[in-house]
């Protein structure tokens, strides 16, 4: 089937097997491999994208369900000027090691900070609770989200 998307601000289309999950179409047909497949059961969060303004796990959607949608993937967060504030905070605060969970952690953090610019630690932990990280023990991630909140507030 012909799948049309607005992907990271650009209109794209590709010939996609109708049996594909959305994450498979993003990775294999549109060539954006930053969106990861961890579990394919909706548990780990590594396939997180923003779909029409809301963060979702793209292994839980058929590619066909996204026809015409506006999608941001992890590749769409940084700009030509460099990493965005949340990404830079993860970098500075050791918010990742292997980076596999980053799509979920970054989008969950961005989503939280857009709604709540000064979250406390519990609110941060609640916001990232749909994501599994096997490297950091979450401490660096919580620090990174706090740091991002402070940096955004200081702007």
């Amino acid at each position: 089937m012909e799948l049309q998307l607005t992907l990271n601000g650009t209109r794209r289309q590709a010939d996609v097997d109708p049996r594909s999950l959305l994450v498979e179409a993003i990775r294999d047909d549109f060539g954006l491999r930053g969106t990861h497949v961890g579990c394919a059961t909706g548990d780990c969060g590594a396939c997180t994208i923003r779909l029409n303004g809301e963060i979702v796990k793209s292994c839980l959607l058929l590619a066909a369900s996204a026809q015409g949608a506006e999608i941001t993937t992890i590749e769409g967060l940084a700009t030509a000027d460099g990493l965005d504030v949340v990404q830079q905070s993860f970098w500075d605060e050791y918010g990742f090691q292997c980076g596999y969970c980053l799509p979920g952690m970054l989008f969950a953090a961005e989503d939280l900070l857009a709604r709540n610019p000064s979250p406390d630690e519990l609110e941060i932990r609640y916001a990232i609770n749909g994501n599994l990280c096997r490297c950091t023990g979450y401490h660096g991630i919580v620090r990174a989200v706090s740091a991002a909140a402070e940096r955004l507030a200081a702007r």
């Binding site: 097997d17 109708p18 049996r19 594909s20 999950l21 498979e24 394919a40 059961t41 909706g42 548990d43 969060g45 997180t48 809301e54 963060i55 979702v56 796990k57 292994c59 839980l60 959607l61 058929l62 066909a64 369900s65 026809q67 979920g104 989008f107 969950a108 989503d111 916001a127 990232i128 609770n129 749909g130 994501n131 599994l132």
Partner: protein, 270 residues
């Protein structure tokens, strides 16, 4: 990649959805949010000839109507959290496992139809005496939530039908409801849930356990109880055929059911 081929339809209205579901000769999977069904398709454990995706069918609203809160079948947990809904429903939606990325997809109606014993929605809708509204080519019908769940992963939705709305009636004046779920860790599915409605006089009006047995258990012996110990005893004794799954054996569920019920009572009575 889903291992088998199937037809995909995304109807643009309820009428179109009813026609699609009604005209299929078996083998139809209905997608609400997809958080359960897409996984089954991908794992090859469910191989329908036709997939009917309700995301554009206009069933995602939450509204107040005639002394009730009416949840469209595909209203997501996030839509519920953004709407004017009873506090106890909010409490349930907020605690759904899987993070914002699942709450933005998963729906109350989908969860009810999937009827996983170890999930939040079935026990809650039974506890709140909700009514389930269904539509099919032969017309519409209503089923009390307490009659909707037929077994583990089995609901009263018949061939050719789909769920359209969940109607949660307002509590009587002065009544309050509490919802408590126990799970093993943040990423666990519910082990046992309890929904308790307490009247203005402090007596239990309704208590339902989720996750304890194959289908939600209405604990009739708890009605009228006015103290936590009685609620705990009634709930504990009511579980006679406990549900087991990979997360917890039945004996464990049976042993904690009373305590979870007590907590829901205390949350409502507080």
């Amino acid at each position: 990649m889903i291992p088998h081929r199937f037809e995909y339809h995304a109807p643009r209205s309820l009428e179109e959805a009813v026609e699609l579901v009604g005209s299929a000769d078996g083998g139809t999977a209905i997608l609400g949010g997809g958080t359960w069904v897409v996984v089954e398709l991908n794992q090859g454990t469910r191989r329908p000839e036709r997939v009917v995706d309700l995301r554009h069918a206009g069933l995602g609203t939450v509204e107040r109507r005639d002394g009730a809160t009416v949840f469209g079948a595909t209203a997501t947990y996030s839509a519920v959290l953004a709407a004017d809904v009873p506090a106890v429903v909010r409490e349930m939606a907020r605690g759904v496992t899987g993070g914002a990325q699942v709450r933005n997809l998963g729906s109350l109606g989908g969860s009810a139809c999937y009827a996983n014993p170890a999930s939040d929605v079935p026990g809650l809708v039974v506890g709140l005496a909700a009514t389930m509204r269904l539509a099919g080519t032969s017309g519409e019908r209503e089923v009390a939530a307490a009659d909707f769940f037929r077994g583990a992963f089995a609901s009263d939705v018949r061939e050719g039908e789909l769920l359209t709305e969940i109607v949660v009636p307002d509590l009587p004046p002065g009544s309050r409801a509490g919802y408590v779920k126990f799970k093993l860790c943040e990423s666990s599915w519910p082990i046992v849930t309890a929904t308790c409605v307490v009247g203005a006089d402090g007596a239990v009006q309704r208590l339902a356990l989720g996750g304890a047995q194959e289908i939600p258990l209405l604990v009739e012996q708890a009605a009228g109880a006015t103290d936590a110990a009685s609620v705990e005893a009634a709930a504990g004794a009511a579980v006679t055929d406990p549900w087991s799954d990979v997360l917890a054996p039945g004996e464990y569920r049976r042993s904690i059911a009373g305590v979870i019920a007590k907590r829901a009572y205390l949350a409502a009575a507080a």
